[in-house]
Amino acid sequence: MQKENVANVANYLTYKGKHKGLLGWVLSTDHKRIGLLYLYSIMTMFSVGVLLGLAMKFELLAPGKTIMEAQTYNATFTVHGVIMIFMVVIPGLPAVFGNFLLPIMIGAKDVAFPKLNLLSWWLYVAGVFLVLSAVIFGKGAPDTGWTFYAPYSFKTGTNLLPAIFGAFILGFSSILTGLNFLVTIHRMRCPGMKWSKLPLFVWTLYGTAWIQLLATPVVGITLVLVALERMFGVGVFDPALGGDPILYQHLFWIYSHPAVYIMILPAMGAISEIIPTFSQKMIFGYKAIIASTMAIAFVGYLVWGHHMFTAGMSGTAQYYFSLLTFIVAIPSAIKVFNWISTMYKGSINVQTPLYWAVSFIFVFLIGGLSGLVLGSLAANVHLHDTAFVVAHFHYIVFGGTGFAFFAAAHYWFPKIYGRMYDKGWANAGWLIFFIGFLALYTPMFYLGIMGMPRRYYDYLDDFHGGNILSTFGSWIMVTGLVIIIINLIRSARKGPAAEINPWRGKTLEWTVSSPPSLENFDEIPVIAEDDGPYNYK
């Protein structure tokens, strides 16, 4: 990766430090290199997750056994869920683009604790290996679902402990990243970079970091309790010893609901950068978007019970959780309205990142609105634990976070690698991917309404049609994915040199060279009073 450089000084990609070659990467404390380390490791895990997803869809192509046994299927969706949630979308945007861009966007040379940052990545890798070891060695891959519900999680004979400890370590990595970002945002902003001038992506990272910090330890301790229960028979959740399985669910969702906002907030932040840039227009309602970010982060902490409407909570808790679930949807709505208004009277430059951003809004709408359906007490009774939920969260987790991830990748790609990708292939990839996505997940809404429960290895003939369509969709989508990824990988090595500011963006990262130099800025920038992140004239 060290041929003709765009900038004539050594940039962060070609820089040679104490260590050479690979070591120069895995021991680097440079936030940009760490960002790329995350990118590569997350993409690797993502590919594994995608393959497992495809395998599941293949199995569901027809009733009865298609390619695997029930035990394999159960392990597959568990590992798929664990990988996708804990290793892909939770670290996804913050650890990759947050790491890369946060310091540059606030005019700093690095994050507050660079060594801690590197440690976070190492922990991530350790967590990944632990979870994978559970799959490969021992008495078979865990088969509890990513939710590890008690008491099944201590009845199953599969190799659960490494997976649990792996998830715990991944959580720790996530906490440390969050801590690092919080301190960085508080302490390292360049002169003149007031809170009211922070780019929206930074604001969402700020909100996200708080959730990471305050929610993750709860699931950490919960998983430890499950592990202790398995190892020593400490009575905590085991109903045979007087424990309450519903309490386990409370603790699990106290983390895992806020976790869904860990996934989506940075995605929303990325969209809030892309839309103004490609509209060449100031973001509409900057303050409202910040307020909604913080509102989501805060209220999102208080609604976890909507995953448990049929678990047997008290009526009071049901009302409360349903009500707050609806309230937490409002800030998301505010964001959508502001994004769309930003396009009004803009000068819209239709490019690949904008395609991704606009399709993000579309699938996010579907995902979010189906979330409202699930938040309703009566409708949830029918739809809980059916394919409808699976459709909801694929639409929003991967339609939301996934699309935003690709939007961000295409938006910041020239900055990261100093090269431009092939736009024709990128657009084609997007289109195929988008069509495949709709075909893959839309039938699941229908299947759910018809009553097909989730986590079903086998199903009755009535559900066959929807499943066939869905499986075909998965093949189309993967075609798109392959095109996108090959295009990006090729362009990172051979693409034409990119300008410093190809999209005419206004945030600070577009003022530094592409790719950025080791220290980002030769001189720490100073933001003038009348300047700002979206100051288009």
Partner: protein, 94 residues
């Protein structure tokens, strides 16, 4: 590094705080040993909260720190409190 020169807390403050903490500890042992029924838990927790407050303000220097750190700490406790209350919404009304 001029901001480093922060308030130096005199020793006697620490000694007083310790004495207060010890007194509170023994008071709470005392009060829980008499039969108060339902209020035992409340009493013990109130004493614990007062002790926490003392440790936070004096031992952990919150009194001399910038206001936003104080705000953060309050926020964290508030969130935790909210979570506990909400969890009890379920159990109290089962």
């Amino acid at each position: 590094m001029s901001e480093e020169k922060h308030h130096i807390v005199p020793y006697r403050v620490y000694v007083f705080v310790l004495l207060a903490l010890l007194a509170l500890t023994f008071a709470s042992i005392g009060i829980t040993s008499i039969e108060l029924g339902e209020f035992t838990v409340a009493a013990a927790l109130i004493f614990a909260c007062v002790k926490t407050f003392l440790v936070l303000t004096y031992f952990m220097h919150l009194k001399y720190d910038k206001k936003y750190i104080v705000a953060m700490v309050i926020f964290v406790f508030a969130i935790f409190f909210a979570v506990i209350v909400i969890t009890f919404l379920d159990y109290l009304y089962r």
